[in-house]
Amino acid sequence: MRMLTRIAAGLALSALGLLALAEPGAAQEAAASASRDYGEFPYVGARVAVWVAAQVHLMFAAFVLGVPMFAVVVEAVGIFTDDERYDRLAKEFTRLLLIAYSATAMWGAVLVFFLTTLYPTFWTHLSEIFEVSMWIYVGLFFVESFTLYLYYYGWDRWKAGRAKWGHWGLGLLLNVWGTAVMFIADSWLSYMMSPPASVTPTTPASEIDLFVALTNATWMPINIHRLIANVVFGGAVVGGYAAYRFLAAKTEEERAHYDWMGYVGNFIAIGALIILPFAGYWLGREIYEFNQQMGITMMGGFMSWLWIVQAFLIGVLFLAGNYYLWTGMDRIPGAERFRPYIKWMLLVLVLGVIVWATPRTMIADRAELAAMGGTHHPFLGVLGVMSAKNTAVNLMILTTFLSFMMYRRANKRPTVAWARTGTIVQGALLGIAALVVLFYGVYGYFVEAIVRIGFSVYQVIAVLAALVVVLALDIAMMRGAESRGAIQWGRMPERSQYALFILVVTFTWLMGLMGFARSGIRQHWHIFEVMRDTSAHAATPALGEAAQVITACVLIFLGLIAFIFWLGGLVEKPALVPEKAETSRPPSGALSPEPGG
């Protein structure tokens, strides 16, 4: 009974959350009049309560911000190619958003209530600086929600001609509002990480300029990193949804549709993942430039082992993503010519993961230290440095890109006169990029650390340049290409779908881990070097404890999103590919590996 009362109270509070968001002034007054700095939450404590609320809110937010970005692209592909299947796919993506929006708002409200009740002094400080942006945030949230409703419910009404372009414009606006909402929220959390240098512990909040606080050192790098990560996350969740629907499909048509949807989701997730590390580099550099000590805490201090776990997770992502592609090649006529290369690509990926996940400094007992001859293992210690790790990850990116290229070209036969030359140039570019990466990786061992750090930039430039030029060449080369046969959508082994589940679970867990890293580097500061956390929960927990909270967040999110999708399925069945003949005819356009037309 007590539990039921608590749940009922929680739901009531959640429902009132938007009202609280709409009146931050009232919340501020309430906080200001509080006679205590901290509240306490039963069982798990205030820190974990806020942590879970914030993390689950962010997971939903990433989903509802990421999906519209590619939904609008897929809709545009449908308009340009006049292929209605893309339009239906974009609509199905958007359908997934509707109920997820409510969950995002509810968890946002839970977070606000937790902050006002558990951290009243901190919340007063934050709302005093950011009150205007909080009002704008609420306004934008309403506008965004109603734009989504118009976008989804107007889909069939504004289906053709100019009206269709107007509808597409709504999708674009949805992204504009969503991005603005995210940028505003990012300013609050990035201010906590990197407040302007002019702000000290004695600076009254009323004297802190909103614009200066908003445009702090890590604001824009976090914005860009999150924009890309949201696309990755949205793609992975859509892939997981499609995988479930594939496994549950009762007809060939359904299976073909969800096979294709899963492919698109995976394509989006892995494609965006490839560029995500570059945004991560920028964020990391800005953190170092803002405060060296914070950067050192992040990479070389108590959080250094977190990056070993991150390497393990990203290794799983690369392996699962590539496995899905390789398995999918079984349903593409002509792909068999690439099969002999797969084992070598797998070898590169596995070696890359092993190197990336190698720790530099080993925690060992006396006997182990004696056996190793020091704190650094004579062989593994060499692999644990950034020269080796950067080389490994860049080669893994090139290998994954190669998998995409093979998948993309599997059933195509180029007809342009320069096809052979073009293929040789493509191979040479990838080879040169790999050599540049290897060269700087090895050379890094012979120069000082300060010089070595700069080498990662050359490696990244070489890889990015190869990716862009090779893909551009391929698009040009495959214009008017002959088909070696249609992709047999739906003829995918069931085990491949479990790779998509592993991807979505891993992306979600990784998001939680990175959330801990970003927030944890502030250590015992609510606002770094401005407002100290003097609560009983000020200590930043070790990774093991953090992992348990992250796992709880992941299970809450996945459980809720599964429930939401199930609910969505009760309301409306998506329109699938109607004609049986189409099930073996692949969709055309940019997202398909099939020749256009």
């Binding site: 405060n291 070389g300 006396r366 001859g373 020091g374 990774l543 093991g544």
Partner: protein, 268 residues
């Protein structure tokens, strides 16, 4: 369908369990906030040094840079043969004594940037209280020099003072409970597991019998604080075996007691 649901659920649970397991399997390090210190005017040098040492090695975050020797000067070991920080601080700035120089370097770190290093150190007064900063100064002085910081320095700071010595100093987890008896320290620190002395101990590392005749006090101190700095001939195969953190487990007084004891151990 239930079979599919169960399979999917199993994949999800096994995956998150694996990640949670990996995160729990690696070394666990918590970041605790620095404990507040409050000292009376008659606080002893030992109390200040102990509190400063704990800050330096722990929540103060100093050791992350001032121990690796690449980001910032080593303070606990000799830098450019000038000795540890306590030995060299008096000569760093002409006309400025060690205490003033160290305090200035903590609260105004760009004032004296050591050649060859970047100006990356943050202003300690943004994160630490005056009592914490002065205890750090005392600790750094104790590394080869004389501790001249007193309670009066702390009391002179605006808003400083207090009744009792900080809990950090009291709760310091030192070898042998902070005892300055050198034999107790050597035994509690398991030094004799590898080094032979007076018929006790193992043969893994160089014997301590007669060490004072072969090495001076500075060399012994360096060997404890930075065991990989020198390798005794004939023991190259076990170089790096000695844990580098003994210095972190002893107070300055304990370290000096052991150094003195071993320097006087001339055998015969």
């Amino acid at each position: 369908m239930w079979q599919t649901n169960l399979k999917v659920l199993s994949v999800v649970l096994v995956t998150v369990a694996l990640y949670t397991g990996v995160a729990n399997w690696i070394p666990q390090v918590e970041s605790a906030p620095p404990e507040e210190l409050s000292f009376t005017g008659d606080v002893s040098a030992e109390e200040l040094v102990a509190a400063g040492e704990e800050l330096f090695l722990g929540a103060g975050g100093c050791a992350a840079c001032h121990g690796s020797g690449t980001r910032a000067p080593n303070l606990r070991t000799s830098e450019d043969d000038l000795g540890t920080i306590g030995e060299r601080c008096d000569d760093r700035v002409s006309g400025e004594d060690c205490k003033t120089y160290l305090h200035e370097s903590l609260v105004n770190p760009t004032a004296y940037v050591v050649e060859g290093y970047g100006a990356i150190m943050p202003d300690a007064s943004r994160t630490l209280s005056p009592a914490q900063i002065w205890s750090l100064v005392a600790y750094l002085q104790s590394l080869g020099g004389e501790v001249t910081v007193t309670g009066a320095d702390i009391q002179a700071e605006p808003g400083a003072g207090g009744a009792e010595a900080g809990e950090a100093a009291a709760a310091s987890p030192l070898i042998a409970g902070g005892s300055t008896d050198p034999m107790e320290i050597l035994e509690a620190g398991t030094c004799l597991a590898c080094h032979a002395l007076d018929g006790q101990g193992g043969p893994i590392g160089p014997p301590l019998d007669g060490i004072g005749a072969r090495r001076d006090a500075a060399h012994i101190r360096r060997s404890i604080l930075d065991p990989s700095a020198d390798t005794t001939e004939g023991y190259e195969n076990v170089a790096g075996t000695m844990p580098p953190n003994f210095g972190q487990q002893m107070s300055a007084a304990q370290l000096e007691a052991v150094v003195r004891f071993l320097a006087e151990e001339e055998g015969g």
